[in-house]
């Protein structure tokens, strides 16, 4: 089956699946071993994604405009023989015009998928895929409080890769008096899972994963009553202008989501996962500090040598301070 890779949470995998192709939301394993990631001024995650997307196990790649660096990396990726597609995702969501534009972009993505050998889905086929994904996402949400933070992060990572959910050992429960932390920011690397362990070893626990690869970026559940009538309209309604992202202007949905989560699950500190040259998340660091009044530690990482060691040292010092 043809595999179509993407990174941005605003690409609906069920749309790819409904065309008879295999969606695969990629995560870079690391930014340290990626040649493009070391380009001066380039977000190392964008560079690492571009490098990863060139691997032979992928047949096509979807980039989006939600991040300017990804938009520009697309130009480099396009030079490779592998088909690449740039999905325009508007930053604003408040007007009918941008909703219509997103709709036209998803339709254009459909034509791209057909050009790869996919087939245009019937309404029934699309609705069936949407229901399948909706059910998996419901199970994901149910698992959120029942698995250890690391185990849950692994479940999400596997879901992104395969679409499946489950099969994870629950992992250790929180120790008594563990300091509750939120982890927010850009996408986690596959190599980042050790962070959860490190946090727990130091007497804290990540009780909220608000990164781009966490629950925050799941679409809204579909309205099943309307699914049979207009599945495509339902797809758009659950994906665009609903998922809180940092690139939205204004990014009020992101802060509303955080406010709701913090009200449900109070935290004593925030870890902000961001990459060097990622302006969109970088600018939120101080704002988060002002808005929450909580200590915020930026887990910033570039592609240069020893960046990870420095990040770990800073995290250890932060946790020591909180303890």
């Amino acid at each position: 089956m043809i595999t179509v890779a993407y990174s941005d949470p605003l690409v609906p995998p069920e749309w790819i699946r409904a065309h008879g192709l295999r969606p695969r939301r990629l995560r870079a394993a690391s930014v340290a071993r990626s040649p493009s990631a070391s380009l001066t001024g380039l977000c190392p995650y964008a560079g690492a994604f571009a490098d990863r997307s060139a691997a032979p196990d992928l047949d096509a790649v979807i980039f989006t405009t939600a991040c300017d660096q990804m938009r520009r990396v697309f130009e480099i990726a396009r030079e490779a023989p592998r088909p690449a597609f740039l999905l325009n995702v508007p930053s604003t969501w408040q007007t009918r015009a941008v909703h219509a534009h997103y709709r036209s972009e998803i339709e254009r993505l459909g034509r791209f998928l057909e050009s790869l050998g996919g087939s245009s889905p019937t309404g029934e086929a699309l609705a069936a895929e949407m229901l399948r994904y909706d059910e998996r996402r419901r199970r994901l949400r149910d698992l959120a409080g029942r698995l250890s933070p690391r185990a849950f992060a692994r479940v999400i990572a596997r879901h992104h890769e395969t679409g499946e959910v489950g099969g994870e050992d629950p992992g250790p429960t929180a120790g008594p008096g563990a300091v509750p932390l939120a982890l927010v920011g850009g996408p986690l690397l596959l190599d980042d899972l050790f962070l959860f362990d490190l946090v727990e070893e130091r007497g804290a626990r990540v009780v909220l994963d608000g990164t781009d690869t966490g629950l925050r970026t799941l679409p809204a559940p579909y309205d099943r009553r309307l699914l049979g009538r207009d599945p495509f309209g339902q797809l758009l309604a659950s994906w665009f202008g609903v998922i809180p992202t940092v690139h939205q202007r204004p990014n009020a949905l992101l802060y509303r989501w955080l406010a709701e989560r913090f009200a449900e699950t109070p935290v004593k500190g925030i870890l902000l996962r961001r990459y060097v040259w990622c302006d969109l998340w970088h600018v939120e660091e101080e704002r988060l500090r002002e808005w929450t009044g909580l200590p915020v530690l930026a887990l910033d990482e570039g592609a240069e040598g020893r960046a990870r060691e420095r990040m770990v040292q800073r995290l250890e010092a932060f946790l020591e301070m909180l303890a």
Partner: protein, 460 residues
């Protein structure tokens, strides 16, 4: 024949100004000796080289008194519109209404240079968490917080979507500090797919009809907001007249660029040309005066070309310059190294093209906005750079990286490859910080090498 025009220092301007006054120089209300701006804190001025014409004097005085004009407009009860991340669209609309003045808050990115960091704007941005990993436009945050460089506008608009992340992030920070922003969307411009309805844009590119339609709807929201602000509807008639006025500015600028970038010897320094080009974006807070300033500059250049005189020796290496510089002295430096600017892409080439006058006004403005090089690919930008560089007879291309800017990590290579492939010209990429003093020797050495490469190619 008039004395040969020269580039002179600020202290030379003091003497020159006295001579001109004695000879009966007539100046506008904002005129006066240039050195007075140093007393206002513009500490960089003594380190720059200036064209010695009265037209250049007027240009500089016009530029350096913008804050006074904005304060006066506010005092007169006019409404101020800050058009952010918008190189030439909303200002055309705002200036179509009586009693409305548009300006360009992003222009604060030159304040750290002009005031040699004494204004502390970058320090304010640092405190807000916007450090040097961002483009120097972060100085704008400081300008808003200190309110020392322009009044807080009555309406703040910002282009969003396919723009640089630096500005998008900084504008979001500003909004988060309590400054309401009216965001308007620009999609990433792409070539129309086969069978997709296409629209021709000013500047020669095409875009999908849907993209233009989206921007047109976005501009309709801006039109409503401007009308509410002014208390008058922004009718098609008013917009059409605003477009005609903007096109008058663009036509003057086009002739100025054609002459200044092609005549040999070079009739006007690169620094004055940079400022002249900037006037087309927002008219420096006075549209009619901007036209008059450019008109006088054009008259000066016409005269020099007719007399065969210029500010540089004949035969200077002809360099096409890509991207605006945060430190104005970089433009002087190229000329000191034996080069001259012949053609530019300061990231607003769409604002130099005439707005189509034969279309419904909002449609014409939308097409111009979609042509913004920032919204398109670097490959598109490179294509236009190659076209313009060939038209102006460039012998090399200099890509000036903007520190921290999200588009600069990858575009230099794409532009360089395109220039090499289609024109076979040498390309130099440099990075220009807000003050180049600490890296001047390095930049100068690289510019000299580029100029030498051009000379060697001439000899070959």
């Amino acid at each position: 024949m008039s004395p040969r025009p020269r580039r002179i220092r600020l202290e030379d301007w003091t003497r020159r100004y006295a001579e001109l006054r004695a000879a009966g120089l007539s100046e506008p209300s904002y005129g006066g000796p240039l050195e007075r701006h140093v007393l206002d804190g513009d500490l960089r001025l003594p380190k720059l080289l200036y064209d010695d014409s009265p037209a250049a004097l007027r240009l500089w005085n016009f530029l350096l008194t913008e804050e006074d004009r904005l304060q006066a407009a506010r005092a007169e009860g006019k409404k101020l519109v800050g058009a952010m991340k918008d190189l030439g669209t909303v200002p055309v609309m705002a200036w179509s209404l009586p009693g409305v003045v548009a300006f360009y808050p992003d222009g604060a990115w030159w304040i750290p240079c002009v005031m040699e960091l004494s204004a502390g704007l970058l320090a304010v941005a640092d405190r807000l968490g916007v450090d040097e990993s961002f483009c120097p436009v972060r100085a704008m945050l400081g300008a808003f917080l200190t309110e020392a460089h322009y009044p807080i506008p009555d309406l703040l608009t910002c282009n969003a979507g396919a723009v640089c992340d630096d500005f998008s992030a900084i504008a979001q920070r500003l909004a988060g500090l309590g400054h309401p922003v009216l965001w308007w969307e620009s999609p990433h411009r792409r070539r129309p797919d086969p069978g997709e309805e296409a629209v021709e844009l000013p500047g020669g590119f095409t875009a999908p009809r849907g993209h233009v339609a989206l921007v047109r709807e976005e501009l309709a929201r801006i039109r409503e907001a401007l009308g509410r602000l002014a208390g008058l509807p922004l009718t098609d008639e008013r917009l059409a007249e605003g477009i005609r006025a903007a096109n008058r500015v663009r036509r003057v600028l086009r002739e100025l660029r054609d002459l200044a970038y092609t005549a040999d010897p070079c009739p006007l320094p690169a620094l004055e040309m940079l400022i002249a080009e900037m006037l087309a974006l927002h008219f420096c807070s006075d549209r009619e005066e901007a036209l008059a300033v450019l008109g006088e500059l054009l008259g000066e250049v016409r005269g020099r070309v007719a007399e065969g005189t210029g500010v540089l020796d004949p035969g200077a290496a002809r360099i096409f310059w890509v991207n605006p510089v945060a430190d104005l002295s970089a433009m002087n430096l190229l000329e000191d190294c034996g080069g001259r600017v012949c053609g530019t892409d300061y990231l607003f080439s769409h604002a130099l093209d005439e707005i189509p006058g034969d279309l419904e006004p909002l449609e014409a403005l939308a097409r111009m906005a979609v042509a913004d090089p920032m919204t398109g690919s670097a490959a598109d930008r490179a294509e236009r750079i190659c076209r313009d560089a060939a038209r102006f007879g460039a012998e090399a291309v200099l890509v000036s990286r903007i520190p921290g800017a999200s588009h600069c990590a990858t575009e230099g290579r794409i532009i360089g490859d395109a220039v090499d492939r289609s024109l076979g010209l040498p390309v130099l990429e440099i990075e220009v910080p807000p003050l180049i003093d600490s890296v001047r020797a390095g930049i100068s050495g690289r510019m000299e090498a580029l100029v030498e490469t051009v000379r060697r190619r001439r000899r070959a």
